[in-house]
Symmetry: C2
Subunit: 734 residues, 2 copies
């Protein structure tokens, strides 16, 4: 039974090396003197056979990998190209304060030009100076560097003196796992559970911040799972086993094993891969179905990033931290056809995911996924036909690995036209009125999508643009639950079910209750930057005696938010409001100010104690809506340095409400360039249906024109006619 | 300029006759000795040319009209066939208490068999006795009659002694309009406004109930609009002009004209018909796009009403009052494939639409559309390709006109498979964990849809069934606003904008603020009828000192509702719960009870004073959720006799909360056959984009399995493969 420990360790190390060379693109980029034309094809050529046995990529379509080495920027907001990244790296590598050892690059991306430069820029103009914003760690210090690519100079180098560390790199994660796997106590714990070290897969929950105990050093947690017999190791936790690793010192600073007696769940039927399914589901099969556009899609993507469709135009890119970013969204005026500004920039600024278990092995699970791991860096290639429909356009991400070199994350955004069989408006007229009318118009929209796989969880972000001017922003959750091992096989074995941190979702597995909060940064610029936030409150009025047979009615009362305090909103069903961002100086012909309103859909609020460390750090979820004056340094609701931060650089801190003992900023927001922040929340009490992989759950909000157009902008839209629709036949294989 | 009044009146009467013979099918059915094979084709042959100039039906496809004369019932819940309706009429016409004059038939539809009979029935069994439930008005009395079609006997005849009258008939509406149009004072009012009587189109807002003033007689309001130059007469109100008509006495009992000085709006650019558009909208055209299924849809409709698709099976029908009705919804068990009951019956029981203006001409506008007008009776044929996608199946409604004769409302329900490019689950695995996985599954669902045009407003009802067991119920609003004339052309002319009952949405037009509340009757039968309602409250817990670095966490606490009081729910963002209907005796292998939860989406609550007459009658909107024990007489949240009712037979009355001076029923609901009621609300503050026709606005809720399945029921679902998808080419015309 027993293999000598040394042999086993050698095997593990081999495995680790194999894993990392086969996998994360950034980890195995050679030092190019002549960079390859396509990273994907390079990977494909050299590694595919070695890696094949390790996983399975659903092959339902092939994209042509694009060559990005010749990319040049066309727009002030275009992400850094591969050549620009190499250039920035070269500049950094000769910058004296960083010598002699090259720092770990935690972020290297476009330093967006000042807004006024971007707004002034017109197609054909020379680009504003191209700059890289670099976050680097050197000797335990976080540097924020500004690199001017034109002059070749580092123009700014600031060291972070606040709390927190930069976003983790893949190297941090792999170091942490290697350190943990090499820890001598681990072997005893795995043997105790009957698991072989070689069957371990370990993950790296962020440590959070919980007081002075772990301050002053970069700490991460490592927890392990058995992957024996299943790639869905998430369902096979080695419960109770947590290693706290000092990433920089490369040592386990705390080893906890409280899991005695909790078996590793068997993992039966947890493999969700198609190739592992032995029989079809017990339901009638569904015939092939597809959104078809034989004349092709109606949108164009110009210069790599400018999407134009129907009456919309916007800049689209993938950012390593934010994921999908929509910029300069403009919609054509329905009267003149002239593009009008709606939103300068929209993206998910932070994701807060607190788990509801105070246990030693669980309390720290209060992820801030964007700032800790990155929503772009964890977005992998979308699966054609299954993540996105036929006729989708796929966009790559150009990201930077910890050694400062660029890599291509292929096909992480898709753009497609959606037609779901719905109507954008309709009316039929009962002939009793003298008009026998039946009119309806199909609803076709444009979707830009990205899916981030932050470890176990998948977040699908959809930005959907409608011809009536509405932007529908949806987040869909799928992937795997974060589960907790339990000695119990059935619910009635659990002595006090209410004491468990969630329901039993499979034998020996508790689905721990948790929340998800996605905070969007919505820099609305309605027509221009001079905007105002108006709450339109619906208030019950009582009639006067004798005035009317009615006793009550509602009245819409407009309240202009003068300062940030006026715009901190907790949604209340029984105190309803509309929330408008208007341009007070742009009036319709009737005199109504042009505006957009944010329309919440289903939502959930954080109920944690405001002084609880995770909530302190994520105090930006204390309201569903905030409005701040535009400040280019206020992009990240959870702070620029989120990892292990105390919450001293967050939306809630910038916009601090006045208390007796602290200075209140409560900045003016009327007639200003303002940013709207909206938090979309989910409570998740798991159930058996979430095992072993969760059916998608969605929620959304809308940005909707209010007196922005003079009238319904799609009044003149044409219906669909049979004669125009595609002629289709079954596939040859059917 | 002036035509002699008599000549004009003759013309008007001719017009009225023309309108009614051309239009409402029920009004011009001849007395058949040999009924026609198809009402639609009959209408088409005899009237189409006469009617052509009166309106325009968007011709984007043709359905084959179905012959319903040979229809026979196959299922206990199948609606009455045409022959059964004729038979019921014959039985009624010889029933002595109704002699000699045949009553006005306000409703004649299947009296659904007792639930136990339906549940016991199996395919192949003889049907339980077929009965008609008839609501008829005779000499001012409302009769509820039960007609046994087998024995040919009227087995029950009850007279309504409570408040309220039956649903209006088309005859009531046309009588009211004729009476109003013939009223001598009308001419003066129209001339004053520069409008010709021949250009009037009048509508019949229900009168509501506002105390003893209008009690004891059937009263309706009539208001008129100018249709000159536009079929969108709704945008041309003769503001301030209201006639109160006694429907049975055929007289105007009150004539109000308070509209002096309010011009009739010009109606410029209000014609929304495609043929009236002179130019395309100012946007890039959208290429043809379609949901294609060259092997056809995957669902079947058996015996006219049983829909089977993937793992779902349900009975589908159109009801004259409720509109679309889903019965006996069953989903296959994912382990055994055996169908399991989810919902016995689901439909929209009432729609409450209060307008927010206490003015003499507006206070009464507090519609209860289902009980006053009927959601089925106002559902007209859906427009192929524009209301529903290609490959839709269309279902007709067989309804009964006021003379007791059947008529066909063709194609008022469509059924189709939806694929919108989304995924039903997905996960990709960062290769750092040793597995390079990208798996996703397309989401295909089945939609059953109906669109009711209750005068100006259109309500689209979607029941969407997903393979993961989820039912998504959506209501989408479109059509025309109910607008109020104003002397003002621009907002700055309005002396006190806040005093107006809504924003200016076009010259001389106020979009009056209003609400919509759609109350669903959801008779959940999870596995069988023995069900329990459980609130799973998420409650903040504090940790003990030293217990954990965390201060707080959430705990899911299950609370079983013993009685109706426990299940009256007002949704609160900061007091969140899940709402489960479970079968306590059906346990998963882990011991969790099988259940479904109702998942609210965006919602709005009624804020009217509880003593305000409209709110008294619609007190069922005082909570978003109610649970009642099943009672076959409790189908209509607004009461069986809604019209002019006082609210004495509503959900709120049946389930009355205990007060000192009134008997509380507060019935037991634990381990019972229970019905869940959910109200979906919208606040609507209009804006210019809603003019002249509103872009669709949607909201929804979900019924979602919770430990109903042993695990994710679509784990084994296949992905889409390119080789299976249709091969399409552009249409010849493109």
């Amino acid at each position: 039974m027993k293999t000598p420990p040394l042999l086993r360790l050698t095997f593990i190390l081999f495995l680790i090396i194999l894993l990392f060379t086969c996998s994360w693109y950034s980890l195995n980029l050679p030092v190019f003197s002549d960079p390859p034309k396509s990273i994907t094809s390079w990977l494909g050529n050299s590694k595919s056979r070695v890696c094949a046995h390790l996983g399975s990529v659903l092959e339902t379509g092939i994209h042509k990998p694009r060559d990005h080495m010749e990319d040049v920027p066309h727009h002030p907001l275009d992400p850094l190209t591969m050549q620009e990244i190499y250039k920035a790296r070269t500049i950094l590598s000769t910058y004296p304060p960083l010598l002699p050892s090259f720092p770990a690059i935690h972020s290297l991306s476009l330093e967006e030009p000042h807004k006024d430069l971007v707004l002034k820029w017109k197609e054909g103009d020379p680009l504003p100076p191209r700059k890289a914003l670099v976050i680097a760690l050197l000797n335990g210090q976080s540097h924020v560097l500004s690199v001017d690519l034109d002059s070749g100079l580092v123009t700014s180098n600031k060291i972070n003196h606040g709390s927190g560390y930069p976003m983790l790199t893949m190297n941090d994660i792999s170091v942490a796992i290697q350190v943990a796997l090499s820890h001598k106590e681990l072997n005893k714990s795995t043997i105790k559970r009957g698991i072989s070290l070689s069957d371990l897969t370990c993950i790296t929950p962020s440590a959070g911040w919980f007081g002075p105990n772990e301050e002053g050093r970069r700490i991460i947690k490592v927890q392990c799972f058995s992957n024996q017999g299943t790639p869905n190791f998430y369902m096979r936790p080695l419960e109770g086993l947590t290693m706290t690793v000092d990433i920089d010192k490369k040592e386990v600073v705390k080893f906890t094993d409280t899991g005695g007696g909790i078996p590793v769940p068997k993992g039966t039927d947890t493999d969700y891969r198609f190739k592992a399914q032995k029989e079809p589901p017990k339901m009638k099969p569904i015939n092939p179905i597809s959104i078809e556009q034989p004349l092709g899609p109606s949108f164009t993507v110009e210069d790599g990033h400018i999407v134009k469709w129907a009456n919309w135009e916007f800049h689209l890119k993938a950012d390593q931290r934010a994921g999908i970013v929509i910029s300069r969204a403009m919609v054509s005026d329905s009267e003149t056809g002239v593009p009008r500004s709606v939103m300068y920039k929209g993206f998910s600024s932070e994701l807060f995911v607190p788990y509801m278990d105070p246990d030693e092995n669980w309390y720290f699970k209060s992820y801030m996924d964007a700032g800790e791991f990155g929503m772009g860096v964890t977005a992998l290639s979308l699966v054609p036909l299954n993540d996105c429909p036929r006729h989708s356009y796929y966009m790559d991400g150009i990201f930077v690995s910890w050694d400062g070199k660029p890599y291509v994350q292929p096909s992480i955004i898709c753009v497609f036209e959606r037609y779901a069989g719905d109507s954008s408006w309709r009316h039929s007229e009962i002939p009793v009125n003298g008009f026998n009318i039946r009119e309806a118009r199909p609803k076709v929209s444009l979707v830009a999508r990205m899916a981030a796989s932050v470890g176990n969880y998948d977040y699908i972000f959809d930005w959907e643009f409608q011809t009536d001017g509405l932007i529908h922003v949806a987040v869909s959750l799928s992937g795997m639950l974060m589960v907790k091992g339990t000695p119990h096989q059935t619910a009635d074995q659990i002595p006090n079910q209410e004491a468990a941190s969630g329901p039993l979702i499979s034998e020996n597995l508790i689905g721990v209750v948790h929340d998800h909060f996605i905070t969007f940064h919505l820099d609305m610029d309605i027509d221009d930057t001079n905007n105002t936030f108006v709450k339109v409150n619906l208030v019950k009025e009582e009639t006067l005696p004798g005035q009317s047979p009615r006793i009550s009615y509602l009245k819409a009362k407009r309240n202009t938010a003068k300062t940030e305090d006026d715009a901190r909103i907790k949604l209340k069903l029984y105190e309803p409001s509309e929330f408008h961002v208007i341009n007070p100086s742009r009036r319709s012909r009737l005199g109504n100010p042009a505006g957009y309103k944010i329309v919440p859909g289903g939502n959930a609020a954080s109920l944690l104690d405001h002084l609880d460390p995770p909530q302190l750090r994520s105090a930006f979820t204390n309201n569903q809506i905030w409005v701040t004056p535009y400040n280019r340094n206020e992009q990240w609701a959870g702070g620029l340095f989120t990892y292990q931060s105390k919450g001293d650089d967050t939306l809630a801190a910038w916009s601090k409400r006045g208390l007796a003992f602290m200075a209140s900023r409560n900045r003016a927001i009327e007639n200003k360039d303002i940013v709207l922040w909206y938090t979309l929340g989910f409570h998740h009490i798991p159930c058996q249906e979430d095992f072993p992989i969760m059916p998608t759950v969605s929620s959304s909000f809308e940005l909707k024109p209010v007196n922005f157009f003079e009238s319904n902008p799609i009044l003149k839209a044409a219906p669909m006619f049979e004669k125009d629709l595609p002629v289709c036949r079954p596939a040859t294989s059917s």
